[in-house]
Symmetry: C2
Subunit: 115 residues, 2 copies
């Protein structure tokens, strides 16, 4: 494993679209659904949804473009599943921010103590 991971969302440019993809209620529900219920077809995923099948298709495409899900064609249906690595990317980015955050708090604390 090299110093710079290929899919590590280290830069803001990469992280923003990832969070944007997560920033929708329907898409988060889809992720939660895939996560707890396993892979599923579009019809299956949109069955208990408030929204139409095409809307779900669009959301899946957004998640796919963000690298969070992927799909394969099986017969006449398309089965979608999660792509674990990308979620780890978001996770890592938040870790990085959190670290800076803590350092900022530490500096602030030191400044206060020095007065």
């Amino acid at each position: 494993m090299s110093k710079t991971k290929p899919h590590a969302a280290s830069r803001v440019r990469d992280a923003a679209p990832l969070f944007a993809a997560l920033g929708d209620e329907t898409r988060l529900r889809l992720i939660a659904r895939l996560s707890s219920g396993g892979p599923g077809s579009i019809a299956h995923l949109s069955a208990k949804s408030e929204v139409s099948r095409q809307a779900i298709t669009k959301h899946l495409r957004v998640l796919s473009n963000a690298g969070l899900v992927s799909s394969i064609r099986r017969g006449r249906e398309r089965v979608w599943d999660l792509e674990p690595e990308r979620l780890a990317d978001a996770h890592n980015y938040l870790n990085r921010i959190s670290r800076q955050w803590d350092e900022a708090l530490d500096r602030l604390k030191k400044l206060v103590e020095e007065e």
Copy 2:
């Protein structure tokens, strides 16, 4: 610390706007800037920005609505700073998803092994 933290973005309904606020490059830069450089006024934060002061103001408002930053009026300027707990919320939510994710992978592995 009780069982249910007051600001834990446990439900999708709460987490989505949080991620949406993080899903913009300019806003992520603002967060990174506040995180590494400490609190700053609008003029200060928009000084090295490609975008106008009003645009920055709008982004700060979005972050504020998401609970990620807060501001105080000091003289004729308004100073913005980070709100650590909300970022922890996003962090916790990703942790929760990751856990489900891993469980899903475990189940999949077992299914494969049983065949």
